[in-house]
């Protein structure tokens, strides 16, 4: 042990966090959005093959630490809660690096009657209102397809693995072989080429994702290409949050959970118990949009910290 028990964050980062949380709570109090708490420990878990839940035995049964409070918050909405928000700590196995800690702080909120465009505007407004000091300049809004075309000259559906590999090599990195996993290739493109090209000191909103990356968002199919009503918000190239115009059709959600588990099986990952309680109430979810913001990342960009460790009282290595 080299840290001798000392915190990883300095006093200024601790102060910034307290001030940010208080500003967020004030913001939602003004908007009459209700603060809620939901269980951290749950019988069901997220099925997304790229998100790994911590499993732990509880009275002889396998339970899971939540990776986001999304499922129980939607059950509250389905029960008629109206607009709600939550600040909580969430847990994801295997995520550790300059921008990642296996345990991190999340702000998640839902707005009844909003679609993803209205919620993006509110995220933009909230971040400007709660930003201590001088807030970032005007935000950029780009569709996923527009962002990919701006960075590469191609629309996402014009790209295949071979072409993306070539673009990555031109950007100086030798990519892994993602095979026929086109979403894996697109993830490489976004993280290595597209996001690094975002305007450095402002928020960039990316919306309307490929339908294959819908997760829990609605899919809109009114043209030649089906699109997921999903968005992400970045500050510079750093991803801060993800939002959905929420899917509220239980049968479709069940099919996505099953498809996730089929992918898990193919990759040799453990199968996850789909949240039957969510599925039982999802048809009653009002038309709404929801978003999750990583508060540690937000603190990093507010205070210009280079590592997430600098905003955590104790990073995982010291926990």
């Amino acid at each position: 042990m080299t840290d001798q028990g000392l915190p990883s964050a300095g006093a200024q980062a601790l102060y910034l966090r307290a001030r940010l949380y208080s500003a967020i709570r004030d913001y939602f109090a003004r908007q009459a959005v209700l603060e809620v708490e939901t269980p951290v420990l749950s019988h069901a878990a997220v099925t997304d093959p790229a998100i790994h839940s911590f499993a732990l035995p509880v009275a002889g049964q396998t339970c899971y630490l939540h990776t986001s409070p999304e499922f129980p918050m939607k059950r509250l909405l389905a029960a008629g809660s109206g607009d709600i928000y939550q600040i909580c700590r969430v847990f994801r196995d295997g995520e550790r690096g300059r921008n990642h800690n296996p345990e991190f702080a999340m702000l998640e909120w839902y707005r009844v009657g909003f679609d993803h465009h209205e919620l993006m505007r509110e995220v933009d407004d909230l971040l400007h209102q709660v930003w201590p000091g001088s807030a970032p300049g005007p935000s950029r809004y780009l569709s996923y397809a527009g962002a990919v075309r701006q960075a590469t000259g191609f629309l996402p559906w014009e790209l295949d693995g071979e072409r993306i590999a070539e673009i990555l090599r031109r950007h100086g990195t030798e990519p892994p072989d993602m095979g026929d996993d086109i979403d894996g290739w697109l993830d490489l493109l976004i993280t290595h080429v597209v996001a690094p090209g975002f305007e450095p000191d402002c928020l960039t909103f990316i919306y309307d994702y490929p339908a294959s990356q819908a997760a829990l968002a609605r899919v809109r199919d009114d043209g030649e290409v089906a699109l997921a009503e999903r968005f992400e918000v970045y500050y510079g190239e750093r991803e801060l949050g993800n939002g959905f115009h929420e899917l509220n059709r239980s049968a479709e959600q069940r099919a996505r959970f099953e498809a996730d588990n089929a992918k898990r099986e193919a990759q040799g990952l453990p199968l996850m118990p789909a949240d039957e309680r969510l599925l039982a109430t999802l048809d009653k979810l009002p038309d709404c949009a929801g978003v999750a913001i990583g508060l540690d990342r937000l603190l990093m960009v507010i205070g210009a910290y280079q590592s997430i460790d600098e905003v955590l009282s104790f990073d995982f290595d010291r926990a």
């Binding site: 990555l168 990195t173 030798e174 993602m178 990356q213 993800n242």
Partner: protein
Amino acid sequence: MASYSTNEFKGGLKIMLDGDPYTIVENEFVKPGKGQAFNRVRVRNLKTGRTVEKTFKSGETVEAADVMDTELQYLYNDGEFWHFMDEATFEQIAADKAAVGDQAVWLKEQDKCVVTLWNGVPLSVTPPNFVELTIVETDPGVRGDTATGGTKPAYMDTGAVVKVPLFIEQGEVIKCDTRSGEYVSRVKE
């Protein structure tokens, strides 16, 4: 053969890529909130010294390179090989031109060097940061000139050529920095 998973990646780890040994210079974990996790690494080829960037899928495994640094005493050069000795075991090992490369001019007999071995064979040689060498040839010294800051080339007993201040004389022993190839100071005998 031993292997490493990407979650063990860190600076200094030695791995095999396309048949060559590499050292990890920098490792960054990259992951979109909803999407595939990657490790974006900068690696240096230990044979050529070239640094390249490569991205792995997180969870992939890579073969470990059997590379280790040993501190050995430099003995002599026989015209083809440079011979080193382990001072504890007296075991001797010979490094060829490819391993010694440009560092040959900083090797002084009895100095302790770091010899990097790959599968037991020398891959590279790192001389001490500072070595003391004798000047075998340089222009005559300009007495008293310690202020003008001028330099002249001086030829060392090991073959190195170092720019030295004008007042330095042939036959003197000087301290050199092997990383920059620069003169540091006179050594008073």
